[in-house]
């Protein structure tokens, strides 16, 4: 059974480490991907989100359960990212977009995107080990098939097949209805996408 968002918040306030773990499991990847949308640097995003969790635990007693846990965490990460951007002095344009009246809408979009990313991430983690390994090397380390084959000591043909299987499994995992709602949402937001096929 899932714990209620507010109940988790209350229990963390009371010093329940189990509830804290639950919040971490539940939100950590999403928050990292959310930060990554703003910072475009996954490692930096991870350290921002880590700090949010550290502060959350240290200051738990003084926090008010006015908001949901989810909105507290996303807002904290957002603030952490903004501080980071200010610090890096590259914030100007992004900050302008966020201080715009539509700020909340922009933030919601980023949260939605982060959540899709988190779902994809979870689906990748559920792939068979070898399949996942090959897919990650191909997608995130951007290695050539021949480089992957060399590194893992397998044939290029196997690499090709495994990435194909991975993609199919991921597509199956993320249910059709979920994908469609996400797609329609994303396409309404991102008409500037252009595909060169």
């Amino acid at each position: 059974m899932q714990m209620q968002d507010k109940e988790i918040f209350q229990r963390i306030k009371e010093g329940d480490k189990g509830a804290f773990n639950y919040a971490f499991e539940m939100y950590y990847p999403r928050l990292c991907f959310f930060a990554d949308k703003m910072l475009h640097d996954l490692d930096l995003s991870r350290s921002v989100v880590q700090q949010v969790f550290v502060d959350f635990w240290i200051k738990r007693e003084n926090l008010n359960v006015l908001y949901s846990l989810k909105s507290y965490l996303f807002h904290s990460v957002r603030n952490g990212c903004l501080d980071m951007l200010k610090h890096r002095r590259v914030e100007a344009r992004f900050l302008a977009s966020l201080t715009h009246p539509e700020e909340q809408a922009v933030m919601n979009d980023l949260i939605e995107e982060a959540e899709l990313n988190a779902r994809i991430n979870a689906a990748i983690q559920e792939l068979p080990r070898r399949c996942r390994e090959i897919f990650v090397l191909c997608r995130f380390e951007e290695l050539k098939y021949t480089e992957i084959a060399d590194r893992l000591g397998i044939s290029v043909k196997t690499v090709e097949m495994q990435v194909g299987i991975a993609l199919k499994k991921l597509r199956d995992k993320l249910s059709v209805s979920q994908m469609i709602s996400l797609l329609s949402f994303l396409f309404s937001k991102k008409s500037h996408f252009s595909y060169r096929v």
Binding site: V54, W57, I124, V163, G164, I165, K168, L174, M179
Partner: protein, 335 residues
């Protein structure tokens, strides 16, 4: 031309990862345009590929979870240190204030003719007897003849402080948050949980501490500068000479001998008569007078039991030496 789904998926991935050949690309385009269904599959795949643009492995997530715990731990340690600094400030204030308060109390008490001991508890073993008591924290204390300890009733406060005059053996209940401190006129002994003996009779030329087990720290009160505490290991016997303000530590000493008094035994190995008579005086509440200095340097070994009376002790001395004794009330002369 291959039409099976696995092959198409391979082409799609090759396309996204930029590893597609010209002919394969033509093949893929043809497939996409063949039906609306194909186009949807392609769009879905593209979405997956583009939106899942960052990846966190379960190992990374676990490592991050640990990093969070580590940072929380470090912060809480730092916070405790800050708290300690605050208590140190209080201590410094107390170090100034308490002696002042005591001095005033003493001054007032002296001039009004009252003796004021505040709210301290007092336990004494009269001359000729040993006593045993258990403190509020479960610590056991044995008091040798002529010993007094004073302490606050429930051992309140940051430390458990005991004021000792005489000789006592402590079996201290462990409490790392509340150090046990034995204060004598010249030293402080800090303990976390251990068994040890402290001898600090007023009028004697030294203060001695013997550690049986555990760890204790000896702090000298009246040194010119702040001095690091002297740490004793089990078996160590520290002797602090009041005349030259120096500490001598004998390691591997016979702790059993030094603490035998608890069992009502007065054990001595190669002790001079002066030492023995000092002990006998405390034990039997008598005054012993030696005819001359040479007698005082005679050396003995043996065991006296507290249950024996002073005559047994004097007889033993008389039997093994050419000395004789004479008793007048509580005064004894040895010649």
């Amino acid at each position: 031309m291959h039409k099976d789904p696995e092959y198409i998926d391979q082409l799609i991935v090759s396309f996204f990862s930029g590893q597609i050949s010209v002919s394969e690309k033509e093949e893929l385009v043809a497939w996409i345009n063949a039906s609306a269904e194909n186009k949807e599959i392609f769009e879905k795949s593209k979405q997956l590929w583009e939106e899942g643009n960052a990846y966190l492995s379960s190992e990374m997530i676990r490592a991050d979870r640990e990093a969070i715990d580590r940072k929380i731990y470090e912060l809480s340690v730092r916070r405790d240190k800050k708290r300690k600094l605050i208590t140190l400030t209080y201590r410094v204030a107390a170090a100034i204030f308490i002696p002042l308060a005591l001095a005033l109390t003493w001054f007032w008490g002296y001039h009004s003719g009252n003796s004021i001991t505040g709210s301290l508890c007092e336990v004494s073993a009269p001359r000729g007897h040993i006593a045993q008591c258990v403190l509020a924290d479960g610590t056991q204390v044995w008091l040798n003849a002529g010993t007094t300890i004073k302490y606050t009733p429930a051992l309140q406060g940051k430390n458990r402080e005991i004021f000792l005059s005489g000789e006592a053996y402590f079996k201290v209940t462990k409490d790392e948050h509340k150090p046990f401190i034995v204060c004598t006129s010249e030293t402080e002994i800090k303990v976390l949980g251990t068994s040890f003996n402290v001898k600090a009779y007023p009028g004697e030329s030294s203060i001695e501490a013997t550690l049986e087990e555990g760890r204790i720290e000896l702090l000298l009160k009246r040194t010119a500068k702040m001095q690091a505490p002297i740490e004793l290991k089990p078996g160590d016997h520290a002797i602090y000479s009041l005349s030259d303000k120096k500490v001598v530590i004998e390691s591997g000493s016979d702790t059993e001998q030094l603490t035998a008094w608890r069992d009502g035994k007065f054990m001595f190995r190669d002790a001079d008569l002066q030492t023995i008579i000092t002990q006998l005086e405390k034990l039997y509440d008598v005054r012993i007078h030696l005819a001359n200095e040479n007698i005082a340097r005679l050396r003995f070994r043996g065991v006296f039991e507290y249950e024996q009376n002073i005559f047994d002790a004097l007889e033993t001395i008389q039997r093994t030496t050419s000395l004789t004794y004479r008793i007048n009330g509580r005064d004894i002369w040895i010649e």
